[in-house]
């Protein structure tokens, strides 16, 4: 069985804006960065201009540990685009700091049959043009 990779050859990149720049470029410094409310400490994902918990507006980007747990995943076999390399693992991970922040990602650097719900993972970035895409790999203790 192949190593789990991320889909190559046909990678669609995010459109970077003032609102999401901290997220898609935080990887340049090796950190996963989310918006956080300075009033109540809630982390917002995707980013919005008002804290949904306390309605505060004093929000600022802040790095998280990048450690997470796989909440669910699928082994995708269908090449949705020409050149999309399959199979690969698509997963939803829950961040240690705030499990209701979920990130859809690929699990990389891991044999595909080893991926499990509940598996511990950590962020790893790959640079493409002007963005750093966060992937997750098995946690190194």
């Amino acid at each position: 069985m192949s190593e789990s990779g991320s889909p190559r050859d046909h990678r669609i990149l995010p459109k970077v804006t003032a609102t999401n720049e901290h997220y898609w470029r935080g990887g340049e410094h090796g950190t996963l960065v989310l918006l956080r409310c300075r009033s109540c400490g809630y982390r917002l994902h995707p980013p919005t201009p008002v804290c949904p918990q306390c309605l505060g507006r004093d929000l600022a980007p802040e790095a998280v540990s990048g450690r997470a747990t796989v909440a669910t995943f699928t082994i995708n076999h269908q090449p949705w685009y020409p050149g999309l390399e399959v199979p690969f693992v698509l997963a939803i991970v829950e961040l240690d700091e705030q499990p209701d922040v979920r990130i859809t990602t690929n699990i990389v650097n891991c044999p595909i049959p080893d991926v499990r719900i509940g598996m511990r993972v950590q962020v790893v970035f790959r640079a493409y043009d002007d963005v750093w895409i966060p992937f997750f790999e098995p946690e190194v203790a």
Partner: protein, 408 residues
Amino acid sequence: MAGPFQGRVAITGIGQSDVGRRLGRDPLELTLDACLAAIADAGLTPADIDGIATYPGAMDNPPGFSGAGVTDVHDALRLKLNWYYGGIESPGQTGSTINGMMAVATGLASHVLCFRTVFEGSAQGAQGRSAVMTGGAADGGSGGGYRAGGFQQWVLPYGAPSAAPWIAMFAQRHFHEFGTTREQMAQIALNARKNAASNPKAIYGTPLTLDDYLSARMISEPFCLFDCDVPCDGATAVIVSRTDLARSLRKPPIIVESAGTAIRGRPSWDQWDDLTTMSVRDAGLSLWERTHLRPSDVEVAELYDGFSFIAMSWLEALGFCGRGESGPFIEGGHRIALDGELPLNTNGGQLSSGRLHGYGFLHEACVQLWGEGAGRQVLSSGGARPELAVAAAGGGPTASCLLLSCAR
């Protein structure tokens, strides 16, 4: 009479165009075929129609997703409208119909023409699914400089432009928590295929066995090819009328007993609170909050099966079984068969009869309530047609359902 519409709203006619994998026909003509059939079925003429409701409204992208908008039909039939609606941000695809029901209940319109047209089969053409995917050929692909915004930015960089892998992840979590199996989930596809054999408009009417299912190629685990609905061309229309005007029309009115429209979690594919459910959970709950009728009163269920797991999720959401129990509920397929305790997707659903996108379930619920199902008609042991049906549309972060009755 109880319920959100107090008995004031009825379905009085239905219509459907030809349905096929790739008809290669003008989608507006398909739309008008369905609309004129529905108007005639009700015993009305275009001059009687004073409202239009449609999903998703006119849009060119993704290709084949919308065959006609409000103004196309308004102008083609020279209608005189008192109210209209077309849009994509409604609860499920038939949320547009529920908007029409609200217009009738509030007196803004008397007879609302509701429709949905797709031509995704023809739009794919020989290129297959990538032709209609966001970021695919129509957008220039990654080589064409396309960049993803909105929700798509969170999934397209990971090779996931389709709801197949998004919903597969819900199914996987359900399998993990409740021990659900592929053999159980297969029954949604096998039951649909069996029923499709009695639907002359079905895309796939040839028998499907459990072995066929288990040996099919995987799309996104646990979904194989047969867990995914089939893109097609076709249009479906229903007429929503004031009940007091419906009494004199051609057919007995189908009363709208309740509508489920709630979404109380985050409107998202990946931030939804419970990854074993989807927004169908709240749509189903709210349907029953608004009526004195109970799940055990329902005699036939037409539940969205864009992916097989969605129909299982609807079974739980609507209280036909407990949370996490849809696998055992459908095991073996007897309970959901035409002669079972809860006949399901009697026309073959979208899995075997084509992705008419929500409206096909509403159409089939009416077929069953009017006793027009011929070889696929649900009949009681005494030979009577059903009096109460559920039609549900949508999955993921958008869903709605309707409870419909037609007294014998």
